[in-house]
Amino acid sequence: MTVAVLLRRAMARPGQVDDDQVLGPCERGALVAGLELARALTVEAIAIAVGPARREERVLAMALRAGCARAVRVGGEGLDELDYLGLAEVLAAAATSVDATVVVCGDRSVDERSGAIAPAVAELLGWPHLTAVTELRPHPRGLEAVHLGGGRRIAVQLPTPAVIAVLAPAVRANDAGTSAAVGAPASQAIVTADPASLGIELRRLSPRRGLVGRLRPLRGTRQATVLPGAAELVARLREQRLVAPAEPADAAPDAAPDAATPPDASQPEHAR
């Protein structure tokens, strides 16, 4: 049994990495959950990413430092232009190449947020999948995964092989946050594969590039309307029926103090 962890560098813009975060919240969750599952099963966790080295090798190095036994990067022209299903085909082939029996990935990326990769990889592999997973552990029948859905936490027992889409790791109160980037420095090399070596013919996938949708910048700079006071804001909300209308005896809007003050950005109130 092998656990494959699918990772992807968070992107600030198309082709541009996010300097603030290497992994999105769900990818961090996937790395943590994949490593914990591999440790519990005493098997290897193998990190897989698709994309150029300058973008994805930092992600894979982080995964190796965190405890992954190996890391595989699939690189090649045109991979970034594929839609979810084209990308899933590449990832499924990569997971097959490392003999994965459990594939763990983030439920959704922070930049595109479509949440389609895990179900699509499962479909291509012909495996069951489960999304919105908050906990993952071995079970005598395969795996037990806790799915957050329908107002309930549902512990589902799945056979392996399976694909699991993980939510962000739980935030710990009064803690600086969880990080997957722990462990000894990585000494393992990152293996590079091209799609052809995985049996993928990119030309066959090219029609799917039209299904990504045209990317357009937001026209103009959108900016909120800053209102002079609370009463004016409430009036707007009532116009739009976003809050209940004023009761006849309600004189509060006129009585409300206008507390808006000129901003003083030189005195940051809080760390953002």
Binding site: A12, Y84, G150, V156, V212, L218, V226, L242, D258, T261
Partner: protein, 324 residues
């Protein structure tokens, strides 16, 4: 005629609010495309025939469906594991050009897998736009809301699967729907599961959510909570507020944490990062209260107040008619 298929959850003989809203949107899209709306509704065993089925068919017809397919399914979790086989079989028979799911937990598990099965384009939570020639465009903000991905339905040679947030107006018609019987496999035997209630589930469906960000302190948190109470909304937190112990981490709104679909989303003292706002429905009207006029939140918000939280939030509560 092209088919628009709507995955319809039913509760107590009626479509759920989210399913009703999505059915209404499907009606509007189908009318533009000249397509037929099929509502595929999951009902308890026995309710797929007889008076209960007739009553539901009538309700769904008034809600926008032209044809209704009822699938008997035991009350199992709404997952591909339990429903995928019947859903895929229905699509194989109806061959929908467009399949629409409510963007809830079940829809997010089912829709992308169905899309992959159909080789379809997949668009999660788009805004529906109508172009100058009446064309239907699915647009969704990506990359921190600074870019939009736009997909024009009539340009696609593939079927399309879409999830939509539930904050949409209902269709209100008097049309009769016709019930259609498909030869479907029974819903799959559910995998062994154990369930426990999620005490914070109301957050996902709240009409109003007030979120405390990193700019909220232990002193100002009660003011934010009072505003949430005055609005009849749910109080939540950003990652920064939850990490500092101000808000229960189970109430964190963010990508990979809780997703929310409110009509009104009030953000107090939060910068508006992509990891936070990515979990808020694009249909939500965002109101910001913050002292930094250059924070990214102002690009996402519609209205706001700039100033000190300790002054503005009580003023807002009072203006709404509450005690500040």
């Amino acid at each position: 005629m092209a088919c628009v298929l709507v995955h319809t959850e039913v509760d107590d003989g009626h479509p759920t609010p989210a399913a009703g809203a999505v059915l209404g949107e499907a009606r509007r899209i189908a009318s533009t495309l000249g397509a037929t709306v099929y509502a595929l509704a999951w009902v308890p065993p026995g309710d797929d025939e007889g008076p209960a089925a007739d009553a539901l068919t009538t309700v769904l017809g008034r809600g926008g469906a032209d044809r209704v397919v009822l699938v008997a399914a035991p009350p199992t979790p709404r997952l591909w594991l339990t429903r995928g086989q019947a859903l895929a079989q229905a699509c194989a028979q109806l061959r929908p050009a467009l399949t629409i799911f409510a963007s809830d937990d079940g829809g997010r598990d089912l829709a992308p897998r169905l899309a992959a099965r159909l080789g379809a384009a997949y668009v999660a939570e788009p805004v529906i736009e109508t172009g100058p020639r009446g064309e239907v465009v699915l647009a969704r903000p990506v990359y921190d809301g600074e870019q939009w991905r736009r997909l024009q339905l009539d340009e696609l040679e593939h079927p399309t699967v879409v999830t939509l947030s539930g904050d949409r107006s209902l269709a209100c018609g008097a049309d009769e729907a016709e019930r259609v019987r498909l030869d479907l496999p029974p819903a799959s035997v559910a995998p062994p599961t154990t369930e426990r209630d999620d005490p914070h589930a109301a957050l996902a469906h709240a009409r109003v959510v007030v979120v405390a960000g990193g700019g909220v302190t232990t002193t100002t948190l009660p003011l934010v909570a009072a505003l949430a109470a005055q609005l009849g909304g749910e109080l939540a937190g950003t990652q920064a507020a939850c990490q500092r112990g101000l808000i229960d981490p189970e109430r964190q709104v963010g990508v990979g944490a809780r997703s929310v679909t409110p009509a009104l989303y009030v953000v107090v003292g939060a910068s508006g990062s992509a990891a936070h706002l990515g979990a808020v429905s694009p249909d939500a009207e965002i109101v910001a209260v913050d002292r930094d006029p250059r924070a990214p939140i102002w690009k996402a918000a519609r209205w706001g107040l700039v100033g000190q939280i300790e002054a503005l939030v009580p003023a807002l509560t009072a203006a709404l008619g509450g005690r500040a």
